[in-house]
């Protein structure tokens, strides 16, 4: 591989010029990439930050394509932009949209360390850049249609033949990291401490570990109303107090009480609008409706 590289570099001298189109594209995409990187650092919102980084990655991918490395360019877009940044976004969205940057420092000496490391990295980069600009000759134009010219086949040969061992080592590292993450994050829901299954929960309910074996009754759905504000009726026609919601504004207890008082005073037959059964149907003294109404109202008050 070494000899090949030097050979390629030796050939370079002749046509190491940059075409106009490439130069124009570079001067458009380069600033966009740098701007994206800077905005990524300075954006307050984490999701905005991620999006600026996406912009940088996209323009890098396009730069690769311009330099006759379409495989590398598309891989950059698919892997980094499409998969890795999407996972980042996924996590950021889970965290919540209000979680902007906090200026509170939790790690001691973080700024100092960051400054030292940042200057160090900048120095390394600057050194490499100056060397690249001064000493290394530009690579010749490549032909991505052939394996020798930077096509996928040539890349495959480099990865899977010349540099097979480092490649496998890297993949082993990645797999170890993935397995480690799964081991650390995995909770066994079948163990005693883990979550109870649906069946366990049902049995626990019937053993009396919970308030009641069944879920609370839903709101009533009748021919005249399907609003969640309409309470459910019990078989005897009285209101099921558990079906009244504290949250729904349209059923304040007072409003309900007034309605029911009005209904109780009007001695009518079965009425689908009535929230109680036929008035005094099975009662001896005729005040049954009032008592049930009072009881239910009391229940709602208790809930409220």
């Amino acid at each position: 591989m070494r000899t090949e590289t030097s050979l390629v570099l030796a050939q370079a001298g002749a046509d190491a010029t940059v075409s106009t189109g490439e130069a124009v594209a570079f001067w458009i995409l380069g600033p966009i990439a740098v701007a994206g990187a800077l905005c990524m650092i300075f954006a307050r919102n984490a999701v905005h930050s991620a999006l600026w980084l996406v912009m940088t990655m996209l323009s890098l991918g396009m730069l690769y394509m311009l330099q006759q490395a379409p495989f590398l360019g598309f891989t950059q877009i698919i892997v980094y932009t499409g998969a890795i940044m999407m996972l980042f976004l996924f996590v950021l969205m889970m965290v919540g949209r209000e979680s902007s940057d906090s200026v509170l420092e939790v790690l001691r000496g973080q700024r100092l360390m960051a400054a030292v490391l940042g200057i160090g990295v900048a120095g390394v980069l600057a050194g490499a850049l100056t060397r690249a600009l001064a000493e290394v000759p530009a690579a010749p134009a490549m032909n991505p249609w052939t394996p020798e010219g930077g096509g996928a086949g040539g890349l495959a040969r480099v990865i899977f033949q010349d540099y097979l061992f480092p490649f496998e080592l890297t993949s082993a590292l990645l797999i170890t990291a993935a397995v480690g993450a799964m081991v650390l994050a995995f909770t066994d829901r079948h163990s005693k401490q883990g979550r109870r299954s649906q069946r366990d929960l049902v049995e626990a309910r019937f053993r009396g570990e919970y308030e009641r074996p069944s879920p609370k009754p839903g709101p009533g759905v009748y021919a005249t109303s399907n609003s969640v504000a309409t309470p459910a009726l019990l078989p005897d026609g009285s209101i099921a107090p558990e079906s009244l919601s504290d949250l729904i504004e349209s059923t304040p207890t007072a409003q309900l009480q007034a309605h029911r008082k009005q209904l109780a005073s009007r001695a009518a037959g079965p009425d689908t609008h009535a929230l109680v059964g036929p008035d005094g149907a099975g009662d001896d003294d005729g005040t049954g409706a009032d008592t049930t109404a009072g009881g239910a109202a009391k229940a709602t008050e208790d809930k409220a």
């Binding site: 379409p70 495989f71 598309f74 499409g82 976004l89 996924f90």
Partner: protein, 457 residues
């Protein structure tokens, strides 16, 4: 390695050279046509889908605007931009505006790499029915799909309300999962055709047979993951209306909603065109060979569109037939069925390829070795003991099983109130009799004793 790319290197370069010679006006013309294919198909597909699904459900579908309701989606397309747009207070406005654009643009770019046909002459200029020719144009389509998801995810997030956020999250997870299966199925095609250029794949199919039967597992995996990738029923979980109202586009209205619609249908067109290219021989008409008159000039474009429409009809058919998957089932299908199956199949293709390239192994030998390997694997599988279901003897179910079972701690009373009452009544009667005739009390007692002794005898 050289046989791997030798084939790919000769054929597409001619196409690439032909494309490189295109004058600017021709490139612009082609770009406009390629960009218009998406929106035109969207307009046609929407009304077609509504009519077809309507017929499948025994109703006529839209039938008011134009002849047979054909102009319904035109009317919708005119109406939508003029509707009021409602922007939620909690929305992140910049991204809220950006999201539909991000969704649409990749969907319009994707068709650029699809070879709709062979060599034609447009206004005296020889060219190919394809906008760009890249050595890796297969990846262009994948990259477009992976960028397009950003539109959905960001739209869901920027709306600033819970249902769209859930839709966006689902979409992110869904597309990442199904892109893996899709990529693996495409790798099968690339390995077999030894080319990553779409036109090279079509040419390889013209020579060696279409891949939908040669690489059937790849085709099936691609078809399933393509439905998942485009968020279509039965995998339309990001916009499941029974769970998430409208999913990621709940808070979108007016033109921005229309753009999401456009993106969805354009994506359908792209994946269908891609499936045609990869598995159905592109613009080839079967049985006649590439040199027949029916496969020359503009005809291939027609065959291509026909094949694409068949797949698009499949999309609609699926929607009219299948219920929506549950989310966990959907993820299980992707990660535990499609990805492992694709990996195993890929290993098989790669092995066969490597043996073929070794060239001193005949097909018969490959088949024999493969058969022996399969038999060995099956025999080994038989050796694995069956999983024992642990049976809990002392376990009594309190529910289920169809029978009402009494509670575990039910106390069965020794006696019932009625029996107690009867007992008390009997005792009081006996007492009364004893009080009334103390002498006679002995006689019946003796009599009964005699009766008993009689009975004994």
């Amino acid at each position: 390695m050289s046989p791997f790319l030798a084939q790919a290197a000769t054929e597409p370069i001619n196409r690439a050279e032909l494309l490189a010679d295109d004058p600017l006006w021709l490139i612009l013309l082609k770009a406009v046509v390629v960009m218009l294919i998406g929106p035109i198909f969207t307009v046609v597909l929407i009304v077609g889908e509504r009519k077809t699904v309507g017929r499948m459900q025994n109703r006529p579908g839209p039938n008011r605007v134009g002849p047979f309701g054909m102009l319904q989606s035109l009317a919708d397309a005119i109406k939508l931009p003029f509707k009021e747009q409602v922007i939620p207070d909690t929305a992140d406005r910049k991204i809220y505006f950006l999201a539909p654009v991000i969704a649409v643009v990749p969907a319009l770019i994707g068709l650029a790499a699809i070879p709709f046909g062979g060599e034609v002459t447009i206004f005296g200029e020889r060219t190919v029915l394809q906008l760009i020719e890249l050595p890796v144009s297969v990846l262009l389509v994948l990259a477009g799909a992976s960028i397009g998801v950003y539109g959905i995810v960001l739209g869901g997030w920027a709306s600033g309300s819970p249902y769209p956020l859930l839709g966006g999250l689902r979409s992110a997870a869904q597309v990442i999962s199904y892109e893996i299966a899709m990529g693996l199925s495409i790798i099968g095609v690339v390995l077999y055709s030894q080319s990553m250029a779409t036109s090279g794949i079509v040419a390889a199919q013209a020579d060696g047979g279409w891949y939908f039967y040669l690489l059937l597992p790849s085709f099936v995996i691609y078809i399933i993951s393509m439905v998942g990738e485009t968020n279509r029923a039965p995998f339309d979980l990001p916009e499941a209306e029974s769970e998430l109202v409208g999913g990621f586009h709940t808070e979108y209205s007016s033109m921005k909603f229309a753009m999401f619609f456009l993106a969805e249908y354009s994506n359908m067109v792209i994946v269908s065109a891609f499936a045609t290219t990869l598995f159905l021989g592109g613009g080839m008409f079967p049985f006649f060979g590439a040199d027949a008159a029916i496969n020359q000039g503009w005809w291939p474009a027609l065959w291509f569109l026909a094949k694409m429409c068949v797949i698009l009809f499949g999309f609609i058919w699926l929607r009219g037939t299948l219920p929506r998957f549950r989310y966990d089932q959907f993820m299980k299908l992707g990660w535990k069925v499609l990805v492992p199956a694709a990996l195993v199949w890929l290993l098989l293709i790669a092995t066969v390829r490597a043996l073929r390239n070794a060239s001193d192994v005949s097909t018969g030998q490959i088949l024999i070795i493969g058969g022996v390997a399969i038999v060995v694997v099956v025999l080994l599988m038989l050796l694995i003991p069956e999983k024992e279901i642990p049976e809990d003897e002392g376990h009594v179910s309190t529910t289920g099983g169809g029978h009402p079972v009494p509670p575990l701690d039910l106390k069965v009373p020794e006696t019932t109130p009625r029996r107690r009452a009867l007992e008390a009544k009997r005792r009081s009667e006996e007492k009364q009799q004893a009080e009334l005739s103390p002498q006679a009390a002995g006689a019946p007692g003796e009599g009964s004793k005699e009766g008993e002794s009689h009975g004994d005898l």
